[in-house]
Amino acid sequence: MAVWSVSLSVVLCLSLWRTAVCGSHHLWLQTLNDTHVHSQFPRGFLWGVGSSAFPTEGSWDADGKGESVWDRFTHSSRTSVDTADVASDSYVLWDEDVEALQYLGVKFYAFSLSWPRIFPDGNATSEPNWAGVAHYRRLIRRLKDVDVEPVVTLHHWDLPQTLQERFGGWLNPNLVDIFADYARFCFQTFGGDVRYWLTIHNPFLLAVQGYGTGAHAPGLRGERQHHFIAAHNIIRAHAKAWHIYDKHFRCHQRGRVSITLGSHWVEPLHGQTTSANLDLCQKSMEAVMGWFAEPIHGSGDYPASLKASNRGVLPEFSPQEKMWIRGSADFFSLAFESETLNAAKGLASFGQMVTLELRKVLLWVQQEYRDPDVLLPDSGWFSDQSVGVEDTVAIYMLKRFIKQLLHAVSTDGVKVLGYSAWSLLDGFEWNHGYGRRRGLFYIDFTRPKRHRIPKTSAHFYRQIVNDNAFPDNHTQHMIHAHFPCDFQFGVSDSTLQVHLSPFSPQFTDPHVYRWNYSGDGSLRPVAGMVLHTRGSQCTDFLFIQRHLLLLEAVGASHYRFALDWSELVPSGDVSSADVEKLRFYRCVLSEVRRRGIQAVVMLYNPSYRSPSLGLPVPLHANSGWRNHSTVEAFVKYATLCFREFGALVPVWITINEPNRLSEMYGGNAEDRRTVERYALLAHAKAWHVYRQHFRQRHGANVSLALHANWVEPANPFLESHKVAARRFLWFELGRFLDPLIGRGDPDARDSREAGSSPIGFTDDEKAELRASLDFIALNHFTTHLVSPQKSQERGSSLMTDHTWTSSPMGQPVVPWGVRRMLSWMKSRYGNSLPVIITASGVDDRAAVDDQLRQSYIRSYLQEALKAKHETECNKTSLQEQHCVDVEDSSKDSHDLQFGLFTSAAHHSRPKASVNLYRDIISRRGFPSTSDPRPPCQRADISTSCRFCATMTESKPLLFFSVCVSFIIIFIIIICVLRKRKKRITTQQLHH
């Protein structure tokens, strides 16, 4: 028995030791799951907003308030002229603050009491300043009336100046008892209405900035151990206050008490997770948050790493104190904001990288301090004062924090009680004065009356509070359905290069060889002997077979690629077209057709990879698309292609992305419009040539493909941003499609909005352009945010929402963008023309397991399916084709990594997304498991000739039955012959 218990305790010790040593190291090693299931926060999640007394209250000496260390600090500062004497005037305008809270709809308000307003000399055993007490009573009463929970901080850095002068502030252990008296008074006076108490706000900053760097009041900059002593006393003061509450007030007030601890987050430098880096990261976290959290929420003592590196300067807790401090908090209160991050970076980053990963901090708290309840009373970033009310960037900072919070809550299961945006109002931001703004409500500090004006971030936060959800309303639910039968899946290539070699010479060599088998084994042609050879065949091009094998592996029904104009017609003159190259493309097309794949052929694909932008060199030298002669040359080239390949091509794209083409040429706006004009005219002329001479015979559809990324207004609460988004779409798409589709003359309003003129066609040209489009082809890759900018031609500039998943090259993955794009198309151009997405895809560096591309394909197809369903309700026909680039097989490995296959240099290996895409194609979408309905069948075969179908399906059986019947016939014949013979012989016998 004794042995048992000993061994058991050894095991226990071992496991304890292991957790102690490993700590949370794996937080830096593990990749967190980023795919969240739903955007909803738990029911009853507390949304709040915070503020603090000194930066907002003003009235610094009104109604008997005492001077605080911050009053003294700002009044005597030589560097700053700003003071908080009036600040946001909240002492007077507190009811407007409550109105602001009601506008946001928050459930709690985290604010702080001003110690010197209640006790001017800090001494809580003397008579309080009743005016101050009455102010807070009024505020708390009103909050209760409007159903906003007060979360009250006792001390947010504004220590009574008297305590500083008499005792030296937090350096003096007497402050512990003095603070405890003050806390007792507050519990007693306000405790009936307060459920959440926070003793002291962010003691890390208070100690480091106030008693170390001197950036904050009282501005002491001295001995190294000072900030450790201040922190030591703060921890004890907190513990004492907590014990007072626990002992005397908890039973009848039923509140919870904690202390708000600031934190940063660090990641290993350059992502190198060496054990040395991990140790430093751990040490860094322990030196900032752990400094306070370990005594209060953990072991009762400072972290070992902090003690080891500050031996002799870090005060020690007695064993009784440790017992007394340990566990002196009812929940974990966390502050995560720029000041702490910055101070931590300077003091304790140890060469590692400070980052804004709120989620990881929450995970750290969960793992280090035994999964406590967490409240976030202070979290957020800041804006520059010049930003004013239109704080677009602040929206996305807030969005980022909330996204991380959502992950922590719903994916990682951190028990977060509530989150508070900081802060309610612009105020005096401590050492940054009024230059930095953290409020959701804007205040103009130059005006005597401090009106509270909601910023756009206030509208944004209000929406979140209202929905209790992260504003990512689009991609959540997955629908289970088939794509309709007219939906087509394709694969797209960029320009398909001509590969005349390698070439199989076995049927083209006319010589006869003699093989010196017994000698040196050489082959020597026999002189004078020449054989007839077989005519050249498409199988001679070894490239084609190999390349099309990849297509078959995907299982798509369509293959889009571009012809190389500069190779086919190198001189620009079609009379000197390269016959061998024409033959190569004809071979490609006939092989594509033989495999039952439909070719989508692009005549001209402008590319930066070609020095002449894909044009024949002489045309490029002759200023390319700025010269009208290129239009003529293009029409002739197109005619050549229609004539040569027409019978093999069901879909033609004349020009790829004319809206990008003009940018390739640069120049001023007028120059770009010339390029656009000529490109559109070239398309229209080619379209007319096809209609007149080839349509009847070949019946293909002809269009041009536009680069069509979707845009959202960067700031959805500003009309100017919405206008910018409309402008952008008009500039990118409307300008091109309107004249082609023949949409009356709607340009007037749009172009007035865009502040730039349409491309500018003559009436004859307009007539030529009208209706010269058989379908709408779009290359859709991603979605951007736009904000207005006058200096740009299209009147807007692009931004990216950094909460969106993004590819290594920075392309955001925004699946719902494709749906919005399609519905925009429908609303603007109706259902007259089918829409085809001719290119879409994402870069992914993974050589085989391309997770990002897989999720891209899956989610974008989901959204396309949703779009299809939406529009089908309105009886439309939407034909669509999803294409993904197959990586070209030239040897250059410095590539965009857009391919479904690795490059030929890497043996054209299929990546994982090939399987996924193939799977989706074969099931025609995302059918639910309970819906075994087979995908589209060729109705004509199954009904018109069932026998033929069965016969073709069972070819071996047919062969077998033919064999059997042959044998039977043969046997019958033999039998008949025998009989006849017999009869003859018997007859002869008879004779």
């Binding site: 990641e267 430098l269 930066y608 895809g841 680039d885």
Partner: protein, 183 residues
């Protein structure tokens, strides 16, 4: 391996180039590689051990470290190369000389010998042909390292726009993968 704050390397910790050192002669083409066992050799293919970190520590002086193995390239007094975990200034710093033909030569200031790979024609000429290196970019499909770097970019904590949303405002043209994909 991290650079401690008191090391002479610390102030220069960002002056880093990540590349491969290519060298050739008539008979072979090699990349310098530092193996995990500390041996230094020439590899005919680009292996992960060929990816090197070149860190400038002083004008013209460079420290070379294998990225995968975290070993410093060091040279003993006889010119023999090895990969070494601890950094020794005497053995692991090289003078970087750029030759007329664009190749680079790494010479130990201590003993005047050059970094060189053993040539096949060892007997004919000792180490002259394989001491000229061409630094080339690393283009291997190595997703993991790059992805991590992408994710935790350095953020500017003093800015109200730490992720640089506003910086994109000046980009005039819209990026289209179609225009940049290979011909």
């Amino acid at each position: 391996m991290y650079v401690p704050a008191h090391s002479v390397l610390f102030p220069f910790r960002t002056q880093v180039r990540e590349l491969l050192l290519y060298t050739d002669d008539i008979s072979q083409e090699l990349f310098l590689e530092i193996n995990a066992d500390g041996s230094v050799s020439g590899s005919s293919v680009q292996s992960p051990n060929c990816v090197l970190e070149l860190r400038s520590v002083k004008a013209g002086e460079t420290v070379i470290k294998g990225v995968a193995t975290s070993l410093f390239l060091c040279m003993d007094s006889e010119g023999k190369l090895r990969g070494q975990r601890g950094f020794a200034e005497k053995d692991c710093v090289f003078k970087e000389l750029i030759l007329e033909d664009g190749y680079t030569c790494f010479r130990s200031p201590h003993n005047g010998l050059s970094v060189s790979l053993p040539s096949k024609q060892l007997r004919q000429k000792h180490g002259t042909s394989l001491s000229r290196f061409l630094p080339i970019m690393d283009k291997q499909e190595d997703s993991q390292i790059q992805d991590v770097k992408q994710y935790f970019q350095d953020v500017n904590l003093d800015s109200d726009d730490p992720f640089g949303m506003g910086h994109q405002l000046h980009i005039q043209s819209i990026y289209s993968p179609s225009l940049h994909s290979k011909k």
